[in-house]
C-alpha cells in the first residue's frame, strides 16, 4: 500500500516476505521443488497444502522472498469439466490434447448443459483447503486465463482455425469460458478462501504464438470481460498475458515488444506493470524496455517491472551469466522502476548453485538504496550445503513462524503494510501512538482492522456482521464494496466520483483526518 493508499495490483508486489532492505526475488519453481524434496508427482500436484509446504521449505533454503512452490494452474478447469489429464510419474499433469473436450459447436452445447460445482469438482477441494495459498503467501484466486483455457479445451491448432474460419463459434467458446467456467470458479474460490485477488496463467497468449494484434482481438477483451464479471463478486483479476518470448535474437523487434507490453498492461487491469517473462532477456536489449516505460516515467508513474531470469539460462548457467543478468536488470530498472526479480519456471534438475547465485546477486546488488555504480560492489557467489544436508539442520527444522490467519482484505493489506514494522522511523515516531482503522468491504465476509500501538502496526480480519461492527470502536472507517475499494485505492476513482459515491451512501468514510495518518505512516516506508 502506497502513500496514497493504493493497493498494488501486480505480480511483483505479491512477492513479499519480511524486509531485508533489498530488492525482492521470487520463483516459479514447482518442478524443481518436487525434485529437491523427492515428492511424488501425483501428491505434489494434487495436494496443494503439501505443495505449499514443500515450496515454503525450498523457498527458505534458497532465501527467496516468497515460497518457491507456486505454480500456474492450467488444467484444473479442464479436469473439472471432465477433460482427460495425463498424470506422469515424474511430471505435472497435462491435458490430453489428442482428445479435446471441444471439437465442434455441438460439444460446446453439451458442455454448456453440464453443471459443474467448482467447490467439489476435480482438484478444487484441495485448492480450497489450501486456503488459496498456491502462488503466494497471500490467499489468491487461481485460474487459467481465457485464452490458455480455450487452448486446453480445444487444442491450439483447432482454436486458431476456429478464430480464423468460424469466428462466431470461437467467440462463443470464449464467452462460455469466461461466463460459465471462470466466473463461477472465481466465485467459488472467493467463497471458500475469501481471496480478493486472482492471478490468471496465460502462457499460450504470448509472442510469437500470437501477434500482438491477435491478442488485442482475442485475448484482451476476454480478460477484461472476466475482470468485469468478477468485480461484481468483489474479486480483482489480473492475467499474465502478452509475454514476449521471441527465441531468435535476430528477430527481436522493439515495436512488437512494445505492442506486447500494451497487451500485458491491458490484461493487468490497466496497472502500469510489465513482466519480462520467458524470453531471452539475458540477450535482449533492456533499453527497449526503458523506451516503453518512458511515457509513464514522464507522468511521474513508477512502472512495476517483474524481471524474469530465463529458465534455460538458470539450468545451463554459467553462474557468471546468471549473476550478470540480475545485475543488468538492477542497473537498468531499480533506480526508477519498482523492480523485482523472478526465476522463471525453474527446470527440474537446475543446479542449486545457480539459484543461490541469483538470489544472492539480487540481495547484494539490490541493496537499497541502489548504488550509483554496481561495479563498486564486490560479489562472490555463495558456497552452500546441498538441500539434502540443509534439510536436516536446525535452521531447516525451524519452520517459518506460522502467520496468524488473516482472511480477505486483512491478508492482502498485511502483505503490503506489515513490512512497516521493520522501519526504524515508524517505530520511533509512533512509539506512543494508539489508533485503529476499519476497512470494511460490505459485500465480503470479512473486513480489515488496522491498529497502530506501541510502534507496531497490526492487521486483523473482523467479521462483517452487525454485532461485531457495532462493538468496534475505531478512529477511522472506510466502508464500501470490494470493487469500489479497489477502484478507490488504485486511483481509478476521481474526487468527484468519490463524492458521488459518498452522497449515495455507497462509500462511507469516518474520521478522514485520522485516515490520512495511515497514509503518513506508509509514506515512511515508500
Amino acid at each position: 500500500m502506497s502513500q496514497t493508499g493504493e493497493v498494488k495490483k501486480d505480480l511483483g508486489s505479491l512477492i513479499s516476505r519480511g524486509d531485508k532492505g533489498t530488492l525482492t526475488i521470487g520463483a516459479q519453481c514447482h518442478d524443481h521443488v518436487m525434485y529437491l524434496t523427492k515428492s511424488p508427482a501425483k501428491k505434489f500436484y494434487s495436494d496443494f497444502t503439501f505443495n505449499y509446504e514443500m515450496g515454503e521449505l525450498v523457498g527458505r533454503y534458497y532465501d527467496l522472498d516468497s515460497p518457491a512452490g507456486g505454480f500456474d494452474l492450467y488444467d484444473l478447469e479442464v479436469e473439472a469439466l471432465g477433460g482427460k489429464l495425463i498424470y506422469g510419474e515424474n511430471s505435472m499433469p497435462t491435458i490430453d490434447f489428442r482428445d479435446p473436450l471441444i471439437k465442434s459447436p455441438e460439444d460446446l452445447k453439451k458442455l454448456k448443459m453440464k453443471k459443474v460445482d467448482f467447490h467439489t469438482a476435480g482438484r478444487y477441494p484441495s485448492l480450497m483447503k489450501s486456503g488459496g495459498l498456491v502462488q503466494t503467501e497471500i490467499a489468491m484466486v487461481s485460474f487459467c486465463s481465457p485464452f490458455s483455457l480455450a487452448v486446453g479445451l480445444m487444442g491450439f491448432p483447432a482454436l486458431i482455425k476456429a478464430m480464423r474460419k468460424q469466428p462466431d463459434f470461437a467467440h462463443e467458446v470464449f464467452k462460455f469460458i469466461v461466463d460459465d467456467v471462470l466466473t463461477p470458479s472465481v466465485k467459488a474460490q472467493n467463497e471458500a478462501t475469501d481471496a480478493l485477488m486472482g492471478l490468471g496463467a496465460d502462457a499460450w497468449a504470448c509472442v510469437p504464438n500470437l501477434s500482438p494484434q491477435e491478442m488485442q482481438k482475442w485475448v484482451v477483451p476476454y480478460n477484461q470481460r472476466l475482470e468485469k464479471n468478477v468485480k461484481k463478486i468483489g474479486v480483482t483479476t489480473m492475467n499474465v498475458s502478452g509475454d514476449y518470448c521471441e527465441e531468435r535474437i535476430e528477430k527481436f523487434d522493439p515495436k512488437i515488444l512494445h505492442d506486447s507490453f500494451d497487451v500485458e498492461i491491458a490484461s493487468m487491469g490497466g496497472t502500469p506493470a510489465i513482466f519480462l517473462g520467458m524470453g531471452r532477456w539475458h540477450e535482449y536489449p533492456l533499453e527497449a524496455v526503458r523506451d516503453y516505460t518512458e511515457k509513464f516515467r514522464k507522468e511521474g508513474k513508477a512502472v512495476t517491472v517483474t524481471a524474469g531470469i530465463n529458465a534455460r539460462l538458470l539450468r545451463d548457467g554459467p553462474v557468471d551469466k546468471i549473476v550478470d543478468t540480475v545485475k543488468r536488470y538492477i542497473d537498468a530498472f531499480a533506480r526508477d522502476h519498482n523492480l523485482s526479480i523472478f526465476l522463471m519456471n525453474v527446470p527440474y534438475d537446475t543446479p542449486s548453485d545457480h539459484i543461490h547465485a541469483a538470489v544472492a546477486a539480487t540481495h547484494t546488488y539490490g541493496k537499497l538504496p541502489i548504488a550509483d555504480n554496481l561495479n563498486d560492489i564486490k560479489f562472490v557467489p555463495p558456497k552452500r550445503e546441498s538441500f539434502d544436508v540443509w534439510k536436516n539442520t536446525e535452521d531447516a527444522k525451524k519452520k517459518a513462524p506460522k502467520e496468524k490467519e488473516r482472511r480477505g482484505l486483512a491478508g492482502l493489506l498485511w502483505g503490503q503494510m506489515g513490512k512497516i514494522n521493520d522501519n526504524t522511523k515508524f517505530k520511533e515516531q509512533y512509539a506512543d501512538a494508539k489508533m485503529s482503522f476499519l476497512y470494511n468491504l460490505t459485500d465480503q465476509r470479512y473486513g480489515a482492522l488496522i491498529t497502530v500501538e506501541n510502534g507496531r502496526l497490526e492487521v486483523d480480519h473482523v467479521k462483517n456482521d452487525e454485532e461485531t461492527l457495532k462493538n468496534l470502536k475505531v478512529d477511522g472507517l472506510l466502508a464500501c464494496s470490494a470493487g469500489l475499494f479497489f477502484d478507490f485505492s488504485s486511483g481509478k476513482l476521481s474526487k468527484v466520483a468519490m463524492l458521488g459515491k459518498m452522497l449515495t451512501g455507497k462509500l462511507k468514510v469516518k474520521g478522514a483526518k485520522k485516515m490520512k495518518e495511515l497514509g503518513n505512516i506508509m509514506a515512511l516506508y515508500s
Binding site: G88, N90, T94, F156, N209, L210, E214, R312, R315, Y348
Partner: protein
C-alpha cells in the same frame, strides 16, 4: 485455369493457411494431369518456404505457421498416394515424437511440415511416446534421424534415457538424434549426447539437412 495459375493458387492457399482450398486445389491439379511431384515442388512446398521467410521477417506468427502446416498436410494427403516410390523423402527418413508424459504437439506440428517441405520422409509417432516404442520403431523403420520433442523440464529427462537405450541396443551409431521443445538447449543436447538441437521448426530443417549433408 492454366497449370501455373493452379500452382500459384495452391501456393497461396498453403501460404495463407486455407486448408480446405489447398486440398481442393491439389485435387484440381491432379485432375488437370499436372505431375504430382511438380504439384509438390512448385505448388505446395513453396507455400511453406515463403511462410518461413515471412516468419523470419516477423510478419508471420505461430498462428500463421500452424495454419500453413495444416494446409500443407491436407494438400499432401491428396498428392502423396500418387507419387512414385522414392520421389519423396529424398533428404532422408525421420521418426519424430513427443516423449512419454508429455502431450504437447504444437512445435511438432510445425516441425513435421517444415521437414516434409524440406524433402524428408517423416514418420510421426505422436505424443506421450514410450521409450520402448521409440526403440522398436527405430529397429523396424531404420530412420536416418530420430527427432525427440518435449515441453517440460521433467519430461526432457526422457530424452537422455532414450539415447541411453539406443546405445544399449547398439543402435546409436546407425542414426542421428535431434531434440527440440521449449526447455531444450544446445547445452542439453551436448550433455545427453544428441547430435543437434532444433531451436524452432525452420532451424530444425536446416540442422536436419546439415546432418544428412544435403
Amino acid at each position: 485455369m492454366s497449370v501455373s495459375s493452379i500452382l500459384d493458387k495452391l501456393k497461396k492457399a498453403v501460404l495463407e493457411g486455407d486448408d480446405d482450398l489447398a486440398q481442393e486445389l491439389a485435387k484440381k491439379a491432379l485432375k488437370e494431369k499436372i505431375e504430382p511431384l511438380k504439384i509438390v515442388n512448385e505448388g505446395i512446398v513453396p507455400g511453406v518456404q515463403e511462410a518461413g521467410e515471412l516468419w523470419k521477417q516477423n510478419i508471420y506468427f505461430h498462428t500463421d505457421i500452424i495454419l500453413c502446416a495444416e494446409a500443407f498436410r491436407l494438400a499432401m494427403e491428396v498428392i502423396e498416394p500418387k507419387l512414385s516410390a522414392g520421389e519423396l523423402g529424398t533428404s532422408g527418413k525421420i521418426i519424430i515424437g513427443t516423449v512419454a508424459g508429455d502431450m504437447h504437439n504444437l512445435g511438432k506440428i510445425m516441425v513435421n511440415a517444415t521437414l516434409r517441405g524440406g524433402g524428408f520422409e517423416v514418420i510421426d509417432l505422436g505424443e506421450d511416446v514410450s521409450q520402448d516404442t521409440f526403440i522398436q520403431k527405430v529397429k523396424e523403420l531404420n530412420p536416418n534421424i530420430l527427432g525427440l520433442g518435449c515441453y517440460m523440464s521433467t519430461t526432457m529427462l526422457e530424452m537422455k534415457e532414450i539415447i541411453n537405450k539406443l546405445n544399449d541396443e547398439g543402435l546409436r551409431n546407425k542414426l542421428k538424434v535431434m531434440i527440440g521443445g521449449v526447455p531444450c538447449t544446445q547445452e542439453y543436447a551436448n550433455e545427453i549426447g544428441a547430435d543437434a538441437w532444433g531451436k524452432d521448426a525452420f532451424d530444425s530443417v536446416e540442422k536436419a539437412k546439415k546432418l544428412m549433408g544435403v
